[in-house]
């Protein structure tokens, strides 16, 4: 195992702060992404993910804090950072009036790839991302998935050391999403470091070695997807015999887990994420029995990332418990 001392970080930020007027988009974001890994910034809309990406890719200047990307300071060594990165922003960043090929050749030129080198690389990427047939059509006529792929291709012209993907699959159909996912897998196999943001837990789970839950401009929790799930305990679910028993079951779960239980009247189910690793099935059954709740089924299982996420971002007190 690589010791912490010798790990080199492709992205390292300390206390990044960014304000937009009265809005505090980032309130001291710390990130450490080891070279060759995939880091997933996971958070709801407005958490500050895009702002973080824009700071790290030199599009914004931080109000406080510092960050290094590929070893270069994002404020003082912008050109060196720009030479090392590829960026696919949240919104399309290709020229809709140019064809796919013209876009790639333009960006290749601006990367300093002249003549045949740029032409060949553009053709190769168009082929790789299934855009060869549409290469000579204006990018404005592309579907959402095609435009995303063109964007991704544009970020890969120079084989960047660090690739930033801001919500790369938001709004895409499952087929297009799978294509992007396999492209990310191929890139990491080649040794590229990837920092991606997402609102989809499944995506973080599938792609990321490390997940950073971003909440209100801070890293609320970090860990591998498995660690995150382990730290949060389990998901307790109770099915009651009668709909009228739901509130009573919910209050038992509330007391046991400290989380606000979710009720589903259609299936007469109530569930909650427990932060307590010592919560066992017998204890859960005893408590329910003691409260005389007529139960049909009780289960305790590992929570999904969705449930972890909901718990972390809705309950303010849960953050204190988790950040140790």
């Amino acid at each position: 195992m690589v010791s912490r001392m010798t790990t080199t970080y492709a992205v390292l930020s300390e206390g990044l702060v960014k304000r937009f007027g009265a809005v505090h988009a980032l309130r001291g974001l710390d990130l450490a992404v080891a070279e060759g890994t995939v880091c997933g910034l996971l958070g709801p809309n407005g958490a500050g993910k895009t702002t973080a990406v824009r700071l790290l890719t030199t599009l914004l200047a931080p109000d406080a804090g510092s960050a290094r990307v590929a070893g270069h300071d994002v404020v003082r060594e912008q050109d060196a950072v720009r030479r090392a990165i590829g960026v696919t922003g949240q919104s399309a960043s290709v020229d809709v009036e140019l064809t796919g090929r013209q876009n790639l050749r333009l960006f290749a030129k601006l990367h300093g790839m002249r003549g045949a080198a740029g032409r060949e690389r553009a053709a190769e990427l168009l082929e790789r991302f299934d855009l060869a047939d549409a290469a000579d059509r204006a990018a404005g006529t592309y579907s959402g998935g095609m435009r995303r792929r063109l964007d991704l291709a544009a970020s890969l012209l120079t084989r960047p050391r660090v690739l930033f993907l801001d919500e790369p699959t938001t709004g895409l159909d499952p087929a297009s999403r799978n294509r992007i996912w396999s492209a990310v897998h191929e890139l990491t196999a080649e040794g590229t470091t990837v920092l991606l943001t997402t609102q989809y837990l499944e995506e973080a789970d599938r792609l990321a070695d490390h997940v950073v839950l971003v909440d209100q401009g801070r890293a609320a929790v970090t860990g591998t997807p498995a660690e995150l799930k382990a730290r949060i305990g389990s998901y307790a679910q109770v099915v009651v015999a009668d709909e009228d028993d739901l509130p009573q079951a919910a209050s038992v779960l509330d007391q046991l887990t400290g989380a606000r239980p979710q009720l589903d009247t259609a299936t007469r189910t109530v569930g909650a994420v427990s932060m307590d690793p010592t919560l066992t099935l017998p204890r859960l059954v005893r408590e329910l029995d003691g409260a005389a709740v007529p139960i049909l089924d009780v289960s305790l299982r590992p929570p999904t990332l969705d449930e972890v996420f909901l718990r972390l971002t809705t309950a303010a007190d849960s953050r204190k418990e988790l950040v140790t």
């Binding site: 599009l59 914004l60 960026v87 290709v94 009036e97 140019l98 333009l106 601006l110």
Partner: protein
């Protein structure tokens, strides 16, 4: 080639590809002055004290200058369009020269404007305008027109980056259509009331229009006019130089830092 020259050439190519993709605006801005020449020249010309042919000969340099000054509108429109498009974000994450975007854009603009002025000149010659001074004067006049185009384009690029939306830039840009009306481009200023005449003669468009008329041998500068019109060549150079000195650095800075 230096990186600025290389990157600007790439951006010039991009701008020409965009025009090729959507040539409508270009065609409109090129045919507009010709229809104005025919409309003003024959409709207004027949109602003015000046004989029609003489008025049309007066009008052609004015329309050429108004076309050049249209750089303000085109520049604003292009800058606003770009700054609200994601492609600018990508450009700003590339290790390219900061000034390449506006330099490439204005180079493409000069190229298309130079070509676009040819039909207006030909129609002008057909309806009574003459170049009485010889090729050197004509070349000088053309140079000044291009200089005004360059200066107004850079002013437009900067102002366009300040606007909040493409629509706002479009509206503000259309308003610049009024600027030649308050100059000697379409009508002589000597019969305007005193204060209005002062304003019109300090309009940079007036200096360049007088310079073009002077260089083409159409009319000598009016000695009793305000300084830039009485000394139109020096006045034009001074105006354009001032605009470039102010708006050039501002536009480059704004392109590099937009949104930060």
């Amino acid at each position: 080639m230096t990186s600025l020259a290389y990157d600007s050439t790439a951006m010039l190519g991009r701008q020409l590809q965009r025009i090729k993709h959507a040539p409508g605006v270009l065609i409109l801005t090129q045919t507009m002055p010709i229809s104005m020449l025919l409309f003003f020249g024959y409709v207004f010309g027949s109602a003015l004290a000046m004989p029609g042919e003489e008025y049309r000969a007066y009008l052609v340099p004015g329309l050429l200058v108004a076309t050049a000054a249209g750089g303000l509108m085109t520049g604003m429109f292009h800058a606003a369009q770009d700054s609200h498009r994601g492609v600018m974000d990508r450009l700003r994450t590339l290790p390219m020269s900061r000034a390449a975007v506006p330099v490439g854009q204005s180079a493409a603009d000069l190229l298309t404007t130079a070509l676009g002025m040819v039909p207006l000149m030909l129609v002008g010659l057909a309806v009574g305008w003459r170049i009485d001074s010889g090729p050197l004067g004509a070349l000088g006049a053309f140079g000044l027109l291009m200089l005004l185009r360059l200066a107004t384009t850079w002013a437009g690029l900067f102002l366009g980056l300040l606007t909040r939306s493409e629509e706002a830039a479009g509206q503000l840009g259309s308003a610049t259509f009024m600027l030649p009306l308050l100059s000697n481009a379409y009508i002589p200023t000597d019969r305007l009331p005193g204060w209005l005449r002062t304003i019109a003669e300090w309009n940079p468009i007036s200096a360049v229009a007088s310079a073009v008329r002077d260089l083409c041998g159409n009319a000598a500068p009016a000695a009793d006019a305000a300084w830039p019109v009485a000394h139109p060549i020096a006045g034009s150079l001074a105006w354009c130089g001032l605009l470039l000195l102010v708006f050039g650095p501002l536009a480059v800075r704004r392109y590099a830092h937009n949104g930060r």
